[in-house]
């Protein structure tokens, strides 16, 4: 890689050990992804916050570096394991987990991050101007930023995003370049797709696509469906960008997503026909989705436990606008700073199966939490699971 004089000096340790480590990470990931140099970034979004995912090694590392590391650019962070405001309601979570999670939270805050604890930073802040270079580690957020937010980011790892936050730089890999074209077009063959179908389309595209794909046959999906598409895509592979195209008359390779492909993914992730509880979120719900949900629940009540995940910022806005009343009256539990994926709130010793409309959620519920999954679009959840 071509480094500037300052970057070389930092890599050689002339600005201290921490910056040296940060530059070593940027150079290592840059070399691994064939980037020729580093570019400045305006915003970093970090993963590696949930104690369930980073474990003791991550907790120790963050505690150590937070002694002297401070972030240099605007930095937001992914969800934790649980919502501290509601932890007393979940008796099965042990003190050690709570203590380690608190340590991780405090280390990040000490480093100067904005304590968003959200996988949907794009729902919390206005996005910067078109083509701004950012550094997002959460896969759904990186895909959203590249595909719908007109921003540019690699599908960063927890480490490259942290190094970017500390240095304000990131490797200039292919995804950051203007002339990038997708070698493949996925042809959507399903009519009137639900957000669940969009999640499966994303999951399929992530499996077959490389770094970037085109998607044809889709007309203006709503925000819930767009987020489901980003979530599904980020779960199954390394694809970090899509663009909707009107026609598929170009030279790219064509792959159809029809009934057969969809059923295959459904059968992979749907393992039961009913759930003990419901989760909504992954990605966390935005204000518009909370508003929709409150309208759908008017005069109805959940027949079983339903966890509704949204960021703290969205929850506060929703409370001010009274969207939360209807959801809580219907029995929905609004939880912030955490989400469906890898939350210890759902424990396989207490729960056999979960109903959700999230493909990303389904993947982690099945493979990490170890419970059965019942997949349904939100409209069907309201129809079947409320009265």
């Amino acid at each position: 890689m071509d480094l500037t004089v300052e970057e070389k000096a930092a890599l050689n340790g002339e600005q201290g050990e921490t910056l040296q480590t940060a530059y070593r990470i940027l150079v290592a990931t840059g070399e691994a992804t064939n980037a020729e140099r580093l570019v400045p970034i305006k915003w970093a979004h970090l993963s590696g916050v949930n104690y369930n995912t980073i474990g003791d090694a991550g907790e120790e590392f963050l505690r150590e570096i937070s002694k002297d590391v401070r972030v240099k650019v605007k930095t937001t962070v992914n969800p934790m394991g649980f919502d501290f405001d509601h932890i007393s309601e979940f008796k099965h979570i042990d003190d050690e987990f709570v203590q380690k999670q608190a340590s991780i939270r405090d280390s990040y805050i000490k480093m100067g991050v904005d304590p968003t604890f959200s996988c949907t930073p794009y729902d919390i802040f206005d996005l910067p101007e078109k083509n701004t270079q950012v550094s997002f580690a959460e896969s759904n957020a990186a895909i959203f930023a590249n595909s719908l937010g007109d921003l540019k980011t690699n599908k960063e790892s927890a480490f490259s995003a942290l190094a970017s936050a500390i240095t304000g730089k990131s490797p200039y890999s292919d995804l950051r370049k203007d002339d990038m074209t997708a070698p493949m077009t996925i042809r959507m063959k399903m009519d009137n797709p639900s957000e669940l179908d969009f999640g499966m389309l994303g999951f399929f595209a992530g499996k077959v696509g490389d770094t970037s794909v085109n998607i044809s046959g889709v007309s203006k999906p709503n925000r819930r469906s767009c987020k489901a598409l980003c979530g599904g895509m980020g779960t199954s592979g390394t694809c970090a960008k899509f663009q909707f195209v009107d026609s598929d008359e170009d030279t790219s390779e064509k792959v159809d997503f029809g009934k057969e492909e969809m059923n295959e993914i459904f059968d992979e992730l749907n393992t039961t026909d009913k759930g003990d509880l419901i989760t909504l979120g992954s990605p966390q719900l935005g204000l518009e989705e909370i508003s929709d949900l409150s309208k759908m629940l008017k005069g109805r009540s959940f027949k079983k436990r339903c966890m509704v995940f949204c960021s703290r910022a969205v929850q506060n806005q929703a409370r001010n606008l009274d969207y939360t009343n209807e959801i809580e009256r219907a029995g929905g539990e609004i939880l912030s700073d955490c989400c469906t994926c890898l939350t210890p709130l759902i424990d396989k010793n207490e729960t056999d199966s979960v109903t959700t409309n999230s493909i990303k959620g389904a993947y982690y519920l099945k493979n990490s939490t170890g419970v059965d999954v019942n997949l349904k679009p939100l409209s069907k959840i309201i129809e079947d699971e409320t009265q």
């Binding site: 290592a28 070399e31 980073i54 090694a57």
Partner: protein, 127 residues
Amino acid sequence: MSKIIVQGKAQGTVLKTSNPINFLGAVDKQTGVIRDKKYDIYEKSIKNTVLVFPHGIGSSVGAYTIYSLKSHQSAPVAMICQKADLTVASGCALANIPMIVVSNEEFESIHDGNQITIDTKSEKIFN
């Protein structure tokens, strides 16, 4: 030496495996012993070796495992791969373990038990 991922100098005995390594699941992060029976280096320790393997697989959190190995003095002294992956690249960067990617030919020419020296400055591997 086709690509330097993390710079440095190291000397040690080669431990070579044909299995891609999942650092999060397969390696004991305190002792460096391989805990997964599916590996051809099962029950061997990667501590202080020059670890030669195709590439990393699995969760990117595996990078923290590499950092943890280093803090327990159980890390390899260097890693040599056929392909660069972000987990091993960032883990070695975090833990300051020299890491290089070599051609298939070079990879084949390195044998288990070889004493080798790596110096990324001179871009050489000495047998």
